[in-house]
């Protein structure tokens, strides 16, 4: 009884480090402002205001993150629930940079007759009179901007969460807006809605696994905090069976978001159905947040039992690389092909992750798994968004022409666009002097020095297979004849142009002078607990 009637003096408010958490708070705050804008501002103004709020919030948050990185003060904020450490700050910075590019793509209105890529009225039945009227009246969902901000904030929190409960909340905070965004395509609405439905159902399913895993780990350690679980592991109390089952189920939930095989099956369908700008955003940002989250949980909390989970992760990594690269070969849709390519990339990332090259473990080589993965995420994120931005521009009467046969001879129609796309593909294939090359070297050498050389051999073989289907698209674009009914290449507005240009510039710079970013990743150091 007395516990319920605590005198006010006994209740200490939790200590919140507002300065350190400012980047998160700015994004979430701006998202709330965006919701208010929807409620109070007249429709014609909303697009511009929402875009301005989003861009400003992302930029301000990025600047704040930069200041924090410069200050180099790592701490556990919010009573140990959020870890503002080097990897977290680095991840925030990439997430914000890539979100900025994505937001530009979301805001593009000049390539589809003055309308955005998103449905005017999500509630209108596809093909109905109401939908036509809405389109004629140029109604748009400007809610996509606050939704994006919520997703970005959730991803940032996910990558920094130092507590399994926070991890779960963050997962839902970034997943729910994504489910919505996936279903909002203006063209081919049914397939878009189907994608959203699938993503939601399977996402919910995976959340259940995650939650069950969290419950089991709590049962084992008696705490939700990652550091607490690590302590329990080192003192080796509690049941191993519960620990291992918890580890497995938690891993399933995280691998689902990463797109690891056999938890990848949603990826191609969702990537294909979602509006292309959203696909680009998911392919880059979700993967980054999920991967950092995965590493944090497995390195910080479960690092002590790494010899138990490493073999399982080896198998998953091999499956992911092999299935991703091989199935990509037979894809006939460019978005599905990129989806499988993203699965293969997840596999490459997993090699570094299970390579377990860690500082001070006596390896000859200096690059640690964390640094390699962080760098790879940068070098993968920029070309990915750039490639999806290019996909939005190849259009015919039915919207985007994503069937690969429609891309035949594109190099003759628009050498610039096809050339840029080919460059992104070469980067995915890991050709030197592109971002992908440096990234692949980083992860492979981390895995190699960590002793996972069989994985590296599989990875190099898979990247050979992957190179094949990237080259196939290049051959198709440049060495095939242009059919008479070839799709048009839309003239992009400044938004898409700058998104493609930023993606391209980053891909070139990371290939030619990767030094500064590698340095930054190296200075991010390791996770703290």
């Amino acid at each position: 009884m007395s516990a319920m009637l605590l005198p006010l003096a006994d209740f200490t408010a939790p200590k919140i480090e507002y300065n350190e958490l400012a980047p998160l708070l700015v994004v979430f705050g701006a998202a709330c402002v965006g919701v208010l804008v929807e409620a109070f501002l007249p429709r014609p103004l909303r697009h511009l205001v929402q875009l301005a709020i989003t861009v400003v919030a992302v930029v301000v948050s990025g600047v704040l993150t930069g200041i924090l990185m410069n200050g180099k003060k790592e701490l556990l904020a919010a009573q140990g629930a959020i870890s503002v450490d080097g990897p977290a700050l680095f991840t925030w910075l990439i997430l914000l940079a890539l979100s900025l590019i994505s937001v530009l793509l979301f805001a593009e209105r000049s390539i589809d007759g003055g309308l955005s890529a998103f449905a005017g009225q999500a509630a209108a039945v596809p093909g109905s009179e109401a939908e036509r009227e809405g389109t004629a009246a140029r109604i748009e969902h400007t809610e996509i901007f606050p939704l994006t901000l919520f997703a970005v904030g959730g991803m940032m929190l996910f990558a920094a969460s130092n507590d399994l409960l926070v991890l779960f909340v963050a997962l839902e905070v970034f997943s729910l807006p994504l489910y919505l965004l996936c279903g909002l395509a203006r063209r081919r609405r049914l397939i878009s809605q189907e994608a959203a439905m699938k993503y939601f159902l399977l996402g919910a399913f995976s959340s259940a696994f995650l939650l069950f895993g969290i419950a089991l780990l709590y049962g084992y350690a008696g705490t939700m905090s990652l550091g607490g679980i690590a302590d329990a592991l080192s003192s080796d109390t509690g049941s191993d069976t519960i620990l291992l089952a918890g580890t497995g189920l938690l891993g399933v939930g995280l691998l689902f978001k990463v797109g690891g095989v056999p938890f990848h099956s949603w990826t191609p369908d969702v990537y294909q159905g979602a509006p292309t700008p959203v696909t680009g955003f998911m392919a880059a940002c979700t993967k980054i947040a999920a991967f950092v989250g995965l590493m944090r949980v497995f390195y910080v909390a479960l690092g002590g039992s790494r010899w138990d989970w490493a073999p399982m992760m080896w198998i998953i990594a091999i499956l992911t690389m092999v299935v991703g690269s091989i199935v990509a070969i037979t894809q006939t849709d460019v978005k599905r092909m990129l989806a499988y390519s993203s699965i293969a990339h997840a596999g490459f990332l997993l090699t570094a992750f299970v390579g377990l090259a860690q500082a001070g473990s006596g390896v000859h080589n200096g690059i640690t798994s964390t640094q390699a993965v962080l760098f790879y995420l940068v070098s993968y994120g920029f070309p990915t968004i750039g490639a999806f931005a290019v996909v939005t521009l190849v259009r015919d009467a039915g919207g985007e022409a994503t069937h690969l046969s429609r891309w035949a001879g594109l190099g003759k129609k628009s050498p610039l666009l096809a050339g840029i796309f080919a460059f992104f593909l070469l980067s995915f294939a890991g050709i030197p002097l592109t971002a992908g090359f440096t990234g692949k070297w980083a992860v492979f050498s981390a895995a190699w020095t960590g002793g996972a050389w069989p994985l590296v051999v599989v990875a190099v073989l898979s990247s050979l297979v992957a190179a094949f289907f990237y080259v196939r698209v290049i051959v198709l674009m440049f060495f095939s004849d242009l059919p008479a009914d070839a799709p048009d290449v839309a003239l992009p507005g400044w938004q898409t142009t700058s998104a493609v240009a930023l993606g391209l510039a980053a891909t070139v710079v990371l290939g030619l002078v990767p030094g500064p970013v590698l340095d930054l990743a190296a200075r991010a150091g390791e996770f703290i607990r």
Binding site: G248, P262, I315, F437, T449, G515
Partner: protein
Amino acid sequence: MSHELTWLLVAVPALSAAILLLGGKATNAWGHLLGTLAPVISFAFGVVLFFQMRGQASEERSETVRLFEWFSVGQIKVDFTLLIDPLSILFVLLITGVGSLIHIYSIGYMEHDPRRRRFFGYLNLFIAAMLLLVLAADYLLVFVGWEGVGLASYLLIGFWQHKNSAAVAAKKAFVVNRVGDIGLSLAVMSMWALFGSSAFATVNAGAEHVSSTWATLLGLMLLLAACGKSAQVPLQSWLLDAMEGPTPVSALIHAATMVTAGVYLVVRSHAIYEVTDAASTAVVIVGTVTALAGAIIGCAKDDIKKALAGSTMSQIGYMMLAAGLGPAGYVFAIFHLLTHGFFKANMFLGAGSVMHGMNDDVNMRHYGALRTPMKITFATFAFGYLAILGIPPFAGFFSKDKIIEAAFADNTVIGLCALLGAGITAFYMTRVMLMTFFGKKRWADDVHPHESPAVMTWPLIILAALSLGGGALYFAGHWIVDWLEPIVGHEEEHPPVSALVMTLITLAVVAVGIVIAVLKYRRDIPREAPAGSPVTVFARRDLYGDALNEAVLMRPGQYLTRTLVWLDNRGVDGLVNGLAALFGGLSGRLRRFQTGFVRSYALSMVFGAAFVVVALLAVRLS
């Protein structure tokens, strides 16, 4: 000028390539001139560097030039460092010298091509990448050049985009080369793990301390890389198809320079091969097999370029063989590489000149008696012919003879194979010669063979002179041996019989090859290829190399792909159906509540989760 400016060698053609490829139509008018000027400038600079180096004492001739730090992570540091030493300068001279001649030739050869400017852009890109490959002082930097030449080769093989066969050949070359690249990338990663660096200096210094297993592995990885780039068995299949590219490309990339990069890599890695007999033996075997296989393929081809391509394979096999022999062979591998660069470029350009006069027909059965209308082409081609046969005093005599001698000194079987290869070479080259330039005319009435313009014949004449005089590098006081010895080392080994007897035997075998060819091909040659004996068919089909690739790699790959796709799309569904039958329609009843395929995805997740948990527990319990 000093060595500090070595980077200009690479930068000039790279800049020119950038101007030509990014400049667009504005550069159409003068693009080919700029494109030709770039390698000429690099060549002139290379000559200056060469003479500077000759003036130095032999131990001071190697110099590294550190341009900037490429990246550094922890203890791994990769600098953008160039190495200019007696070995790399020879390559620089070969690449830029022969490269310049081929650029000049291309002005005439590609005159009527609307995309000539782009062609020169790609050629310059190739020159820059190839120079980077041979000048790099770090294996990772070599890899950058390695991929660069691969990309340029890919673009140039597929240059005539309107031909589907060209696109297919380009893709094949790219993919097969990637297989080789695996070797190089794994080698670099192992070097990082073993030595903490992939710089030549560190690797060479550390090679003797490394365990023999690792040395062998490293040697085999590098050999795999060399096989891919140099079209050695088992990665030889792309080179014959690569002849789809314009002929100057075949001469420059697929005869004189790029395909010899594998030999360069092996010689450059001599420190590793010296501590592992197993890997060196593997190099010798690969070289010997390819020397014979290429020669046999060359015997059966009616396409003049493919016959020459088979010959290229075979000659590179000789270089590889020599490189595998260790210090006894390194110098001669490089020596033969140089002379081969001269005479093979000469013959390829000669073939291009013939095609130019024959409406781009490549079938030798449609040639005949061309020595009269194409006098210069015939004469220069004859010089190349005599050089490759090894007739004294032509260049090939000195270089090939030394390889056969070294092979005999090492192992009689290998020596006999090398000798046999020389005989077959004499046979197929005589065949090419007779079918093209002698006999009766077999060309159609609407073909009017004519000599090529001066811009094409002058490079031929210069290369013919080099085919004759290239041997001077050796017979002038064994100059090349002294020049390369400080870098790769040299040991004189003596064949079981005296060198003079060896030479006479070789010449006798060559003579036998010539006589057989003359007897067989002096008669009239039908315009259509006869069915041929099983051996001929075997050789015509590239020794079933493609069929083998198809059976061993492609088919299983296709099956694997199909199976995975099937599993990915339907397999889990099928399993659901099977389970449904098993569990009395439970699954079927559940299915009524769900539409679409989400259920199968979810089921796959359940299986996955079960697998994950079981795997975890199994690891702990085992």
